[in-house]
Amino acid sequence: MYALIPLLPFASFVVLGLAGWRIKDRAHLVAVPAVALSWVLSVFAFVDVASGSVISVSLYTWLTSGSLDIHIGLSIDRLTAVMLLLVTTVSGLVHVYTIGYMHGEPGYARFFSYIALFTFSMLMLVLADNLLQLFVFWEAVGLCSYLLIGHWYERPSACAAATKAFIVNRVGDFGFLLGLFLAWTSFGSLTYLEIFAQAHQSVNATLNLFAPVGGHWDVSVVTLVCLLLFMGAVGKSAQVPLHVWLPDAMEGPTPISALIHAATMVTAGVFLVARLAPLYNLSPTAMTVVAITGGLTMVLGATIALTQTDIKRVVAYSTVSQLGYMIMACGLGAYAAGIYHLLTHGAFKALLFLGCGSVIIALHHEQDMRHMGGLKDKMPVTYWTFVIGSLALSGFPLTAGFFSKDDLLVSTWSAGPLGEILTILGLLTALMTAFYSFRLVFVTFWGPSHLDPHYAGHVCEPAKTMTVPLMVLAVLSIITGYFGIPGFLEPVFATGTESSPHHGGGTVGIMILATSMGLLGIAGAYYVYVIKPGIPDQLARQWKALYQGSLHKWYVDEAYDHTIVRPMFFVADELWKKVDVAVIDGTVNGVAHAIAWSGWLLRLVQSGQIQHYALGMALGAVVFLTILLII
């Protein structure tokens, strides 16, 4: 029965994909019930596994060849169950929201079919019980992301962003694939449970990386597998240095930003690390790399978010930063805290994106926050839900973000010296997070209106289909903190050997610090953007280098452009003009010309004069007879 959880969205994808041209504006009648039923089934699955059991469903054997045995199977444990709930909940709400957001768009049915496909792929990804299945759907969600970013394919910027997202993810997935191969060759299986069992036994196995060139550099196999798989996670979860695609992905319709680029797909990397926790636990080196990558991403994302002016980009960089938190927590062994933050983040970040979406719709696709302001009276529902989302993001007491962020920072604080350093960075990031979140709130919703006078008069709250998901998510952004999710998840990650050193010294101090950082950030934003509105410009002038750096995203895009993209284009251009045109086309055309020329020569033989042919026959007969006679 639980196989229906992913299959229902798949069915709706098939129906909409094949018959979308007829269904058109009624597409939601297919897609919404399917995902709603999935959600109901997910709740059942959640209740089932809450007792501690693990559900395994073997769907079918894909291929068997020697010792390679690949099957499609579903496995639901507590980690999967909470992910299922997250995916189906957010997806369902986004489906409903889309009805209003995409109303009257020409690609309405196409859009629904893609998000149904995405929901299916994401569910299969979290349900997978082996690495290959995970990888297949890992790629599938990447494809959906590509299709949906490029939904408005007539816009060149959307096409560019879609291509960028796809190509940057390729870099990470390349590592993922290598990791997959290495896992198969060293552990002999791709099923999670067998990998963990094998990895325990071959924890000391090493691999000489420089063997092909005759050198000698032994690397632990487990570490290598972990690092290669983590490359995939870096790409998918937009970690440094592959974070560049996520902000550009905001070219897609806003419901997509909420579903794929905030709540679910980008968290697949975090999920991967958590899913493979027993493997990562065996490799301290890989864990350190994971933690540091996460920490860097967290700080970098937050610093960039401070100065962006496109509201979706602010939220996008905030997502990058929050993903950094989760990855960092996983890298420090606090998997439960990481996943907990993933869940609460899924709720409040989806809320923020959908809030952005309703602002954007109300303002006729205006995204620059400098052209907003004073919206809070015109759009009260959007405003209040947005404030709740921002409070949760800032870790304001009694919201879900408060619980998860505190839990996360407390867990990381107790994870050794590296953990302490990263926790301090995390606290600073929390300060910045609160600041930019409320900068967004104050600049967009408060203060004088900078709206375009053309439509300033009739800005109003969007349709019910859009406001209801906002309200539901706002409620979720608060109550997900009260379910005791970390305790629920803890058994999944229990290693048995080490006792989790939670609640050590300084725990309360960290909690108070984290909360006060959030409050300080909010207060700072209030002071800077409401009380003394001149300060931001003054600060920007004073710290010009820093401001420009942050505004230009620390020039990462420019650096890639100069070091990778342009040389690539140059080489491609040269190859096209020199190798392609001269060598390859030359060869092909040369063969064609040679054949045409020899044909022209042979054509002379064929005069059309019947007597010439008869002469040929006679001479041929003479030749044959001569040969016969001589031999």
Binding site: R603, Q606, S607, G608, Q611, A614, L615
Partner: protein
């Protein structure tokens, strides 16, 4: 006395070569057709000669078949020639070079 078979063969060869040369060098299609008949008859001579030499009547039966087929072939050939003449108002074989690309 009997005529040795080689005489017949020599005659047959001469007639055949006459026909072959006629086919190859003459321009008038009717003459070409006649030359083809010459070649056919050269073979008939061979058949008859060997039939008598080997005391086997099969060769003579074969000749009847060849004559019948030749008659039919001439009828078809002449019909084609008439059709060609109607199309081009000439029976000069140089004028006909349709058999090429």
């Amino acid at each position: 006395m009997t005529v040795p078979v080689s005489y017949y063969l020599a005659l047959s060869a001469v007639v055949f070569l006459t026909g072959l040369v006629g086919v190859l060098i003459r321009r008038n299609i009717i003459i070409i057709l006649l030359s083809v008949e010459l070649m056919l008859n050269a073979t008939n001579i061979n058949f008859v000669a060997f039939s008598q030499y080997l005391h086997n009547v099969a060769g003579q039966v074969f000749v009847f078949f060849a004559l019948t087929v030749a008659a039919a072939e001439v009828a078809v050939g002449l019909a084609i020639i008439i059709a060609l003449y109607r199309a081009k108002s000439t029976i000069n074989v140089d004028e006909f070079s349709l058999l090429k690309w």
